[in-house]
Every structure is written in structure tokens, then in C-alpha cells.
């Protein structure tokens, strides 16, 4: 058998396996069953194995090689590998405390990056985006400016309403200075707006899942077509 033939057989076997696994996953439509569960475990195991192999090939091995071949230039990699080794000490009780060092480093750096990133990348820019003029003249001339000003006003109103829903305070004895009906109205509007956001997210998720299903159905039809000779 030629090399090309082997490739073809391997490809055909791979396609057949993919099709069988697709059917195994779709069998969940008839309820939980061992075939579906086996495919789940297979996927989890393969993902973990693939990630481990990739981490070795793309992260650890190149650095280890660089450290061995050019230690004078790449000595910081030795420090990195030492920290990795300390992390492994977690499984050995006499040296377990040493694993706290790389863990503390990871958590500390991770937290600093996450907080700093959230402030610089989300909080401040989003707050800045909210500070817009409500004057139509500052946006654009004519009806366009008016529409943009209305849009900005609506955005501000929605933001304030949703923020209002999240207020937490102890009830004062004198009650709220605002009329109760107004407070209740703002509350309801805020919750309704949040519901709209959740609905939009759910609709998007439904579309994504449908796209995944459509992809699998397409694949199955193509596979069946190649088996039966429909596709030519």
C-alpha cells in the first residue's frame, strides 16, 4: 500500500470515528446512556492529554533546551523550572510548604494583573464612555445629532436604572425621600432591563448551539454522502 493509500485509509477511519462519536453525543437526546458517557470521558481524557503534550512541546521543552544549550543567556529559565519543581513538591509532605512559594507568586501576579486590567481595561474606559454630552449640537447637526443625543440619554438612563436595582441600604425610619410608587417603578424598570440583557445573551447562546448542531448535521450528511457515493 502506498503512502497516499495509507493516508486515505487513515482519513476514512478518522471520519468514521468522528461520525460515530457524533452519533454517541447525539444519543443523549434519548436520555443519559453509557455510550454518551463514554464519549464524554474520551473527550475529557483526550483534551487533558493533548493539553499536557502541547504544554511540553511548546512551553517546557523549548525553554529546557535553551537553558541546556545556552545557560549564560537563558539562566532565568532555570529559575522558572525551579519554581515548577517546587510546585511538584506539593505531593510530598516533607517539602509541601515549599510549594507555597510558586503558588503565592502565581496568585499574586494573577490577581494584580486581573485587578489592574479590570480597572484600566474595563472600569475606567466604560465610565469614560458614559460621560457624553446630551446636547444634540455637540454630536452632529440636524436630526442625526438629536438621535445621537437621545441615544446617549437613553444609555445614561438605562445605566442609572440598573445601578439603582443594585443599591443596598438599611431602611430608614423616615422612609425614602422619593415617592414609593416612583421607587417601585424604577426598580421594576431596572429588573426588566436586566431581563432583556439576559434574554439577549440566551438568544445568542441558542444561535451558537444551533450553529454547532448545523455543523454536525452537515458533517454527518457529507459522511453519509461519501459512503453512499452521493457526492460523486
Amino acid at each position: 500500500m502506498t503512502g497516499g493509500g495509507v493516508t486515505t485509509v487513515a482519513q476514512l477511519a478518522g471520519l468514521a470515528l468522528s461520525a460515530l462519536l457524533t452519533l454517541a453525543v447525539l444519543s443523549y437526546l434519548w436520555g443519559d446512556n453509557p455510550v454518551y458517557r463514554a464519549s464524554q470521558y474520551l473527550m475529557a481524557g483526550l483534551t487533558a492529554g493533548y493539553a499536557a503534550a502541547l504544554a511540553w512541546n511548546h512551553v517546557l521543552a523549548p525553554r529546557l533546551r535553551a537553558l541546556i544549550t545556552e545557560p549564560a543567556e537563558f539562566w532565568p529559565y532555570g529559575l522558572m523550572l525551579l519554581l515548577c519543581g517546587l510546585l511538584l513538591a506539593r505531593g510530598w509532605p516533607p517539602l509541601q510548604r515549599l510549594s507555597g512559594l510558586p503558588l503565592a507568586l502565581m496568585l499574586g501576579v494573577g490577581a494584580a494583573l486581573a485587578v489592574g486590567g479590570a480597572i484600566r481595561g474595563t472600569l475606567l474606559p466604560q465610565m469614560g464612555a458614559m460621560i457624553v454630552s446630551l446636547s444634540p449640537a455637540r454630536h452632529a447637526p440636524g436630526i442625526t445629532g438629536l438621535a445621537q443625543a437621545l441615544d446617549a440619554g437613553f444609555m445614561l438612563l438605562v445605566t442609572l436604572t440598573v445601578l439603582w436595582v443594585y443599591r443596598y441600604r438599611a431602611p430608614s425610619e423616615g422612609g425614602s425621600p422619593l415617592p414609593r410608587a416612583l421607587v417601585r417603578g424604577i426598580d421594576r424598570t431596572g429588573r426588566l432591563l436586566m431581563l432583556v440583557v439576559v434574554a439577549a445573551s440566551l438568544a445568542g447562546a441558542a444561535l451558537s448551539y444551533f450553529a454547532a448542531l448545523r455543523g454536525r448535521v452537515d458533517f454527518m450528511l457529507d459522511w453519509l454522502g461519501s459512503l453512499m457515493g452521493w457526492g460523486g
Partner: protein, 390 residues
């Protein structure tokens, strides 16, 4: 062999006289009831040695610490006789005696449990719903490109196209394939359309991924169509950097020192300095544009927060599920373009040849099915409520 206790149903050896669980008599005596009240156990008075007030008892040291309290005097009974008990007191005393002397109630026998309400609708409705969804998934195959109007370019597609139009062969684009095979059906048409557009303009592509499964997708996408899937095939007009580990820390490192983030090598093992395309590319912001393809909200946020502030041209291509949460970043200008959903590929200039139109018709069919399912669901729940009221 074990026999159940007739009193508490606990399992006991066959020859046991008393139940190990409730101490009831198991072997019936002649002329006696098989179930009798357990006899009161006699408690011997503690001897001097094991008295709680002995010297060995630690509590003994506490005697005398608290002030003594005088007990109230007993009620004086006139004439030295016990006061008569009225009717209520007698009834209470009888009830107390009955409660104290009654054997414990046998465990309640469980009847057949009522079925829990499941998330799935009733059989026929469930089958109908599944059938409709599958039918909708088949619509793209049946209708092909009969609904071209379903995918019109929106502001995101226009912004993306404007950004891509500014790129030429002297410019470099970093493309991050941060999605897995699960989102391939939705994002693959978009990445094909994007790569076709970039290749059409001869723009060199630098590919990477912060997710393990994305590396394989990137490698496959970067190869020529004829050699897709062949790991030894050359990369076409670009370079694959490989896996960028470390999540936020990795991205921050890539933003400050891109070669160090990849150990000064490409995925194929070529030294960074030996690749002309990578000359002068010391950080992500040195690229003329960064395109992120992802189906994960956290990944998208990480890129926006760690890389976005230093890149004017951060272009996001996502699936429909996470697009609503990313819209504020596009509206605030932090993201130069946000394109979402498989239909978007139809709106891109090179997307028409990538099957985008048929996906658009599939979406239209899905919407029709969703509306139909909602109407049927409302009718079904209304009918069920009416029958429950009756």
C-alpha cells in the same frame, strides 16, 4: 438469616431475643405480646471510686467556685395532705404518661414517590421540538443560497472591512485562534473569510493561540487548502508562533516582550531572528492589527484588558453567544470592530464563497422554528394549566 423487627423494621439475626435497634422483644413468650415495651434499665448508684465528685474527676475542682443559691421553700400543704388534682391536671398527667410509655412509632412506609417535574417537555412535545430543530439544521442544505438578504453587513462588519482595507503587504497582522472545535461550525467560516481577505491583499499573518486546542486550528488554517491537516506542510504567507501559555500573565508578557513569550522560537522550532517577518516585532502592539477569534468571554476580556490599551486596532471576531457582553467594548471604542455569528461571514467581502449565505438561511430557519416552538409551548402550557384547574 436476618429477620425484620415487627416494631421498627430493623434487621436482626433470626435467633436474637431482642431487637438491636429498639430493644423490643423479638421472641414471643408464651401468652405474651410479641412487641413489648422495653423494660426500664436499672442504673446502679455510682460507687465512691467512680463518683463524679471523686478526686480524679476534674469537675471536682470546680466545686465552690459558684456562689450557693438557696432553693425556694416547698409549698406548704395545709393539713399535711396532698392538694386535690383538678380535671385538667389529671388529663395532662394522663397524656404525659401515655406519651412517655408509648412505644416509638414505626417508621413510616414510603409510598410510590410522585414524579419530579423534569426539564424536558412531555414525550410527544419533546419529539416534535427535536424534529423541528433538526429540520431547521437541514434547511441550509435544502435551501442553499435562497435567502441572501438575511445577512446584511452591520456596523461591525463595516468596521472590520475598513480596518482590513488599510492593510497591505508591508503590514503585519497577528491573528489569535482562541477557540476550540466546538465553536468551529460558527467561527470557521469567519476565519476562512478573514484569511481569504488577508491573503487576497498579500498581508502576512502571524498566528498564535492562548488555548491548547486553538493551536491545531491555527496550524490547519495557516496551511494551504490543498495540504490542510498535514503537519509537515509549509505555512502560507505567515508564521505560526504556537501556544501562548499563562493566560493574563502570558498576554502581558506578549505585550511587553513577544519573543520571550515564545522562548525566541516559532512553533516549527525556527529561531525568531531567522524569520524575516518577525524582525522588529518585539511586542504585540508592534503589529499593525491584532485579530482575535474566540468563543470565550473571559479570553476576549483578557485580550481587551491586557492588550487592548496598547493596540488601536484590536479586531474581535466572536460567536453569537458572547457578543452581547462584548458590545459595550465596541461601543466605547476599545475594540475597533466586533463581528459575531456565522452569518457575519456572508457579509464579509470574501465570505460569500465560504458558505456564509447558506448559514444565513439556516439561521432564518432556526428563528422560524424558535417562534413555532414558543407558540406551541405557550399553547401546551395553557392547555395543561386549564386541565390542572379543572
Amino acid at each position: 438469616m436476618m429477620v425484620p423487627c415487627p416494631h421498627c423494621q430493623g434487621a436482626n439475626p433470626k435467633d436474637a431475643e431482642r431487637c438491636a435497634w429498639c430493644d423490643a422483644l423479638l421472641q414471643p413468650q408464651t401468652g405474651a405480646s410479641p412487641v413489648t415495651t422495653p423494660e426500664p434499665r436499672t442504673v446502679e448508684a455510682p460507687s465512691d471510686e467512680d463518683s463524679i465528685w471523686s478526686e480524679q474527676n476534674l469537675l471536682a475542682e470546680l466545686t465552690g467556685l459558684l456562689p450557693s443559691v438557696e432553693l425556694p421553700p416547698l409549698p406548704i400543704v395545709s393539713g399535711g395532705t396532698v392538694p386535690p388534682v383538678d380535671q385538667d391536671q389529671g388529663r395532662d398527667a394522663d397524656l404525659l404518661a401515655e406519651i412517655a410509655s408509648a412505644p416509638p412509632a414505626p417508621p413510616r412506609q414510603r409510598g410510590p414517590e410522585a414524579p419530579l417535574p423534569s426539564g424536558k417537555p412531555a414525550g410527544a412535545w419533546y419529539g416534535l421540538l427535536i424534529g423541528l430543530v433538526l429540520l431547521a439544521a437541514l434547511v441550509p442544505r435544502l435551501l442553499e443560497d435562497r435567502f441572501p438578504a438575511a445577512a446584511q453587513p452591520g456596523s461591525g462588519e463595516r468596521s472590520l472591512w475598513t480596518a482590513l482595507e488599510e492593510l497591505s503587504e508591508e503590514k503585519r497582522v497577528v491573528v489569535a485562534f482562541d477557540y476550540g472545535p466546538a465553536a468551529s461550525a460558527e467561527l470557521a467560516p469567519l476565519h476562512r473569510a478573514l484569511l481569504a481577505t488577508l491573503r487576497g491583499r498579500s498581508v502576512p499573518i502571524i498566528a498564535l493561540s492562548t488555548r491548547p486546542e486553538g493551536v491545531a486550528i491555527a496550524a490547519s488554517a495557516m496551511q494551504p487548502q490543498s495540504q490542510a491537516g498535514n503537519p509537515d506542510a509549509d505555512i502560507q504567507n505567515g508564521v505560526l508562533l504556537g501556544y501562548l501559555a499563562g493566560d493574563a500573565a502570558g498576554l502581558r508578557l506578549a505585550e511587553t516582550n513577544l519573543p520571550a513569550a515564545f522562548a525566541y522560537k516559532t512553533a516549527s522550532g525556527t529561531a525568531w531572528s531567522d524569520v524575516p517577518l518577525l524582525n522588529g516585532l518585539n511586542k504585540l502592539s508592534d503589529a499593525d492589527a491584532v485579530v482575535l477569534l474566540t468563543d470565550d468571554l473571559h479570553t476576549a476580556r483578557r485580550w481587551i484588558e491586557q492588550v487592548g490599551p496598547w493596540n488601536d486596532q484590536l479586531l474581535l471576531i466572536t460567536n453569537a453567544a458572547i457578543a452581547p457582553q462584548l458590545e459595550p467594548y465596541a461601543a466605547s471604542g476599545q475594540v475597533a470592530a466586533l463581528v459575531a455569528g456565522a452569518t457575519a461571514s456572508a457579509a464579509l467581502p470574501a465570505g460569500e464563497a465560504q458558505g456564509g449565505w447558506s448559514i444565513a438561511s439556516g439561521y432564518l430557519a432556526f428563528w422560524a422554528v424558535s417562534v413555532l416552538a414558543m407558540v406551541l409551548g405557550l399553547l401546551h402550557s395553557g392547555r395543561r394549566r386549564r386541565s390542572e384547574r379543572r
